[in-house]
Amino acid sequence: MQLTGAEIVIRCLQEEKVEHVFGYPGGSVLFIYDELFKQDQIKHVLVRHEQAAVHAADAYSRSSQKIGVCLVTSGPGVTNAVTGIATAYMDSVPMVVLTSQVPTAYIGQDAFQEADTVGITRPCVKHNFLVKDVRDLAATIKKAFFLAKTGRPGPVLVDIPKDITNQKCEFVYPKTIAMRSYNPIVKGHSGQIKKAVQLLLDAKRPMIYTGGGVILSDAADKLTKLVRMLGFPITQTLMGLGGYPGTDRQHLGMLGMHGTYEANMAMQHCDVLLAIGARFDDRVIGSPGHFSEVPRKIVHVDIDPSSISKRVKVDVPIVGNVPDVLDEIVKQLEAAEAKPDAKSLAAWWKDIEEWRGRNCLRYKQGDLIMPQYVVEKLYEVTGGDAFVASDVGQHQMWAAQYYKFDKPRRWINSGGLGTMGFGLPAAMGARFANPKATVACITGEGSVQMNIQELSTCKQFRLPIKIICLNNGYLGMVRQWQEMFHGNRYSESYVDALPDFVKLAEAYGHVGMRIDKPADVEGAFKEAFVKHKNELVFMDFRTNPTANVFPMIAAGRGLSEMILAEDL
């Protein structure tokens, strides 16, 4: 059957079982919007800014096993989307970004709303395509979905000139795609896995360190099985939270710059480290030099060979898909006659319990609301079962530290790029992917204003998100660094002239609440989550403006060089 390019785009999305597309129309994308109008299988979510469309599609992927799709127009539509694309790229989130382009004959002529989309997005996508012939369109979209979700996932962009969307050709959606230049490895090398198993069995002070790869590959169950089988301590990165139950005794909490004392100490002092789907980044291990001062054997499981031995030299690299490799490790462990060294392990746990005894996340709740307390109460009220989207800054770290995620895909934050403005649109995406779930957005008065216009989208689609704004009047993380490293010179980190968030929420047709006293926190949550269950509630918590995030490792320092709250 002969279809236009625009019809082909819609048919391809239907073939991929896409239920939601997040987007914003414009001149060159009109034929595609016209076809969206004529069907009702795919629901379009009209955002108020293209960046939000991409964050929402991104969180849609993160919070489910589906693939987020967004659709934006040429030129400014694309440039607005770039922050969202880079955010997804840094966290390896599978996503398909459809962009329209000026007509083929206008490309390169500085046409109205023209931008070199493929050029601008090249460094922040897994791959991108410019479709130059309508006959390539279906296969290109198929490739985009295939590339986005296989191997190390990531955003893939397809740029479609307007004339292509109006030209006709025969529509055939390819069933499979084979690319000679792209064959991701799935199974880990069994010889390498054997070496890894031997190291694990010989370990005296073993440690397991996992990251976002566990979440992205849906390996939480297999990881939990392995960790329980070994009885080893485990720590998770910011991106890995929820991969292993956060409330379990073997879990030492998050590691890294704001990780727990016990996680960082165990990481530094272990003799065998099993790293799974994590990449030893600067916010996780601090200085690689300091980390390497303690000799240890490292086994690193990752689907991306370029993540291995990038910052830290690894002894046993295993390239493969995390769940497949975990299966093989478990199989070999079960077959092995030797068992982990119980005596050494008990001594190691004794050390760890001593570190845990420092109770590094302790804080004092005084007259002013402590932000940590708000997160703890949120955890209680939601039974630890909410989808929590966060923005970037102090509140993000407190959310990661105090909300104990037991399940994967519940914690949605911009870890790699650290994009302020991510939280609210991400909460929207999570709610669309999980239409019955409780969705909270932990944010700050700085971050939330970076995509505040999405309160309008939330109203249009009746999204009952609970926004927990930890309002301390400062760009808190900036202020914390200025206090600690810049002699208390709070250069441009005080946010003057904040809006009245209660009235603002009401103006958008939502419920607004302002909470000033610690004693009111719990009651406010109950009101928001019970009485206003089906409404969006903007909760403006006025928190202690000088609260800081601890523990902390200064940038470039080592894991055991933590600053604890009690040190100050």
């Binding site: 493929v118 090249r122 690319m179 230049s181 792209y182 991306d304 060979p305 031995s309 990038k310």
Partner: protein, 163 residues
């Protein structure tokens, strides 16, 4: 250390910028880069000369392999290989310099491919060191213009880079 990396990649528009963009984005060094289609017109072959520690070169080859358009990557300098570069040099050739220039070109097995009353264009192929040596051997003040292709390389014997 200096490495010669050979890359087979899809002959598609934008493929070159994906490679060059990777080098600039990650701060890798490029000494030279050459690219042209192979006997199979759907594939291009690129030769990149880069200088870096073993760790950096390992990262470069891994990152190159990660590019979707890249089909194969080989570090030629890991084993016996040949490398050649072509240079065209336009020199002033008048008076006694005219004879001397021809003599030096002959010694380096260069060919004079353009002649005017006052200039020669000399074509020279060889490895980078040989071309540098030629430029060192002639009077620099006589050099009007030089253009070099950058290095292209191939493995010796049974080392074959093919899909």
């Amino acid at each position: 250390m200096r490495h010669i990396i050979s890359i087979l990649l899809e002959n598609e528009s934008g493929a070159l910028s994906r490679v060059s963009g990777l080098f600039s984005a990650r701060g890798y060094n490029i000494e030279s880069l050459t690219v042209a289609p192979t006997e199979d017109p759907s594939l291009s072959r690129m030769t990149v000369v880069s200088v870096g520690s073993d760790d950096i070169i390992e990262q470069i080859t891994k990152q190159l392999n990660k590019l979707i358009d890249v089909v194969k990557v080989v570090d030629l300098s890991e084993a016996a290989h040949l490398e050649r570069e072509l240079m065209l040099v336009k020199v002033r050739a008048t008076g006694k310099d005219r004879e001397e220039m021809k003599r030096v070109a002959d010694i380096f097995r260069g060919r004079i491919i353009d002649v005017t009353e006052s200039t020669y264009v000399i074509e020279l192929t060889g490895n980078t060191g040989k071309l540098d040596a030629f430029l060192g051997a002639i009077d620099t003040s006589l050099i009007l213009e030089t253009v070099r292709t950058g290095v292209c390389g191939i493995g010796r014997g049974d080392r074959i880079l093919k899909v």
